[in-house]
């Protein structure tokens, strides 16, 4: 039975912003770390909402990048997001430059030389491009090849790893088809791809993995919902989150984005109702919201309530 706490008003519900090293993240960061360590090239795909971007950000934070005031800068992992709707090579060049900090404007011919110099002087060991499905197949990949080739050649002689991280759907991996073409550029690019696991799809979470994640959620939210027992709902939640609406490819895996959104919404509702645990009705209501009513249109015809405690955030991978 779920206890209701006293009538005293509770402080607003707090969403924990901590990054969770979930099984997906271990798999995903595992392949990134391999590329970094072994300087190998991979195309890494996962369904949208898996937590790829957060995983990249976490890896970047752990990479030991720093700038000191003696002029020494180290950026072992150069992680950027692919430019959107910008097929020119300058767009990718600008995105790569911006990762180093403030860069005064310079002609493009100068910038492409500068990029190689700065990557060498800051010790770039691996380039990770998030949302790589937005890259222009010919122009951007050719630029990446040129930059990495120049880095690998004298005087720098610095081979770098490359991870093109993409969102995918079904079993189709972006780039695979392009790189299989017979043109010289693609053959050269394919030559540089890793021998082992050149194309990887990182799967979401199994039911057992979801159960383990719930243990972490229970610990994180125990202070706000003292009797929280999420684990007992694992099967139901797993089934809801692998329905055809939320798992259109039928992977039977759960993304962290869906999982976090589901749990945080349910816990917030339970908390606001004064409960100390979530109950079946709350979970059912949230499941309906996510599955059946996710595309509902809401007419905003009343004045908004106070926004106090409204901590709408990107819940993916955040506890």
């Amino acid at each position: 039975m779920i206890e209701r706490v006293s009538d005293l008003p509770r402080p607003p519900f707090v969403v924990h912003q901590r990054f969770l090293e979930t099984p997906f993240e271990r798999r995903f960061q595992g392949i990134l770390r391999k590329a970094w360590k072994e300087r190998t090239w991979h195309v890494v795909a996962a369904v949208p909402g898996s937590g790829k971007s957060l995983g990249i950000a976490d890896l970047l934070h752990q990479s030991g990048a720093y700038k000191d005031t003696r002029g020494s800068t180290r950026l072992p992992i150069l992680a950027i997001r692919a430019p959107k709707n910008a097929a020119r090579e300058q767009a990718l060049g600008m995105a790569l430059s911006a990762a180093f900090g403030v860069v005064p404007s310079m002609p493009w011919a100068q910038r492409r030389i500068w990029l190689v110099q700065i990557m060498a002087s800051t010790g770039v060991e691996c380039i990770i491009i998030d949302d790589a499905q937005d890259l222009d197949r010919l122009i951007h990949l050719a630029l990446l090849k040129e930059l990495t080739d120049n880095l690998a050649a004298p005087p720098y002689e610095r081979p770098v790893g490359l991870c093109l991280v993409t969102a995918h759907s079904g079993n189709v991996i972006p780039f695979k088809e392009t790189l299989a073409r017979p043109d010289v550029l693609w053959r050269q690019f394919r030559e540089r791809m890793a021998l082992i696991d050149p194309y990887c799809i990182v799967d979401g979470h199994t039911e057992e993995e979801v159960r383990h994640i719930f243990i972490t959620f229970e610990d994180l939210y125990r202070s706000q919902l003292p009797d929280l027992q999420l684990q007992r709902w694992t099967k139901s939640i797993f089934n809801w989150l692998t329905s055809t609406i939320l798992d259109p490819d039928g992977t039977k895996r759960v993304t962290m984005g869906h999982l976090s959104k589901f749990v945080v919404t349910a816990l917030r509702r339970a908390y606001e109702q004064g409960a100390t645990d979530v109950d079946a009705a709350t979970l059912q209501a949230v499941a309906e919201l996510m599955i059946l009513r996710r595309d509902d249109i809401t007419h905003m015809n009343e004045l908004p309530k106070t926004l106090e405690g409204d901590d709408a955030t990107d819940d993916r991978n955040l506890a």
């Binding site: 970047l60 990048a65 700038k67 005031t69 002029g71 020494s72 911006a98 180093f100 500068w114 110099q117």
Partner: protein, 297 residues
Amino acid sequence: MPQTTVTSPNWHTCFPHVVEPYPDEWFAGLLLRCDEMNHRESGTTWRYLLRSTTHPGFGPGSSFIVIPEVMLISLAQRLTISREHLLATTYADALAKLYSPAHPHAGQLLGHRRGVTIPPLLSKSIGNRASATVVGFHVCPICIAQARLLRRTAVLPHLKYCPTHHVAFHTHCTCGSPLILFTRRQQPFVCFTCGLDWAQLPQIQPTQRETMLERDLWILYEFFLVKGTKELKASALSLVRDSVKTQQLLPLKLISGRTLSMLTGNLDNFSLGYVVDILISLGISPDDIMRNALISP
């Protein structure tokens, strides 16, 4: 050593390589070192500062002796250092003490602006590549070789030898071209014409007479720029006035080559360079100035 990590919001608001000033480094030298560290052509940081800030009355002809506040703040952010740290690369504080309540400006050190000295012929040959040059700007090849260091002394008038290494300052390259601080399409710290690294310029020793003159000049500059106050400057000027009135019956040839026949205008507004020029020429030392300050009402 202070570090900026990739998680810090500063990461994206500072330059890829950040540098902090060396003791006694000159602002313009720091800009050049910043260019070199960041693999950029000479003057890139300077042009970036010019474009990204508003600074009425300040531009390519600057002497980099006093820098507008907005530029100091902007560069301090880009280098993740304090504004005070950056201010120490200028003579703004020292001039403020000597010339208060007037706002410090380059003229207080150098005298009237003589403009950007790019002779017409030279201007023709380099087009608009010269972003900035400074009157009397000179470099010590050993300072450059050891640490790519341009000291603030690089702009002090009349000094011809490096007070630290006792070798001649250079205002021109061995190819005959003047040294220009910032030149487009050229590496920092090199001659814009022949590409010779300033560190490779010859190391010329002073004669004994020059050594003594340089020492006296340096002692006077140190006296004013380190310990100087408005009162001490007034004491020095009163000695000058007395000396000229009582002793100098004939026009006095100054070490700068100028001639002093009588003192005109408001002496308080004399530039420090001119004051030092007169003091040296009249043989007035810091001790004389201190003594005079003690006995003056």
